[in-house]
């Protein structure tokens, strides 16, 4: 059997192809039935309808978030000064003092001065106001 003669231009692949076709012809009906059965029983590619809804929901959520952030960015921000609570002027002790003359307490300039110098809290009112 060694080193057999080369009978024709046939190739191993072509020969196998021909033999396969001949074999398939013998069992044509069964092969067709097998194919039909396999295809009819095949699992179809899964449809995932929730995917569309999830994508749409995510997109809508992102859009709402973006609009909210943009709206917030455009809103005028309250200044720091406005946020600070007004400091209630402390009433100087000398106001409560009976020794301070009533005329001084009724002098409007005194209150203007107090409002201007609330933080400094002078011990005594200005001398000229006391005199006036």
């Amino acid at each position: 059997m060694n080193k057999m003669r080369q009978p024709d231009a046939d190739t191993p692949r072509a020969r196998l192809d021909r033999e396969a076709e001949a074999l398939a012809d013998l069992h044509r009906e069964r092969l067709a039935a097998m194919t039909a059965e396999a295809v009819s029983g095949a699992k179809r590619p899964r449809r995932q309808p929730w995917r569309g809804w999830v994508s749409a929901g995510l997109a809508a959520g992102l859009a709402v978030l973006a609009v909210g952030l943009a709206w917030r960015a455009e809103m005028p921000r309250p200044s720091k000064m406005a946020v600070l609570q007004p400091v209630a002027p402390r009433i100087p002790e000398w106001v409560e003092d009976d020794s301070v003359p009533v005329s001084l307490l009724e002098n409007m300039e005194l209150y203007v001065w107090i409002s201007r110098h609330a933080a400094t809290q002078p011990e005594k009112p200005p001398a000229d106001s006391a005199r006036g």
Binding site: R15, D17, T35, V39
Partner: protein
Amino acid sequence: MDARFETDLTLFLRDHRAAALKFATIRLHDEQAALDVLQEAMMGFANAASRYEQDAWKNLFYKILMRRITDHQRKQGWRDRLVRIMSFSQFASSDEDADGVGQFETVDAEQADNVHGASELADAFEMALEQLPSRQQEAYLLRQWQGMSVAETAAAMGCSQGSVKTHLSRAMTALRDQLGEWIDRT
């Protein structure tokens, strides 16, 4: 989507079933067993195909087919052992088993009848292929006949590319010894 998948699947199976049947027949030496195994492989493939790209279908199909062939051979091996052990039992005399033996005898008879009609080379080629060890058969049929790449063959056979090359080289050497340079024709 469904209709297209069904069409693609049908066309694929129609294109490959003849070669796959020949492949299984060479591996199992039994046409009826090859048909049964091919049917299982087709159904397994059809169930798995939707999870793969169409480019990978051929590889997947042969992988499943070879797994089914191996399963069949294992079952057959166990059955043969049982028959041998319980030679007096019903297994040995069952109709089913008798059918199996009959098939082999029928195939042999058919082969004997066809000897005169078929060319000497065709018989020699078939015989040489059947005598190869199973892994060498697989490597030769997938690589040389089905035209798969070394990587695809390795993936289908579940082994390394180096093993594919080794199996193929041994197969080609054995076939060349029996068939001469003809086996190298492409």
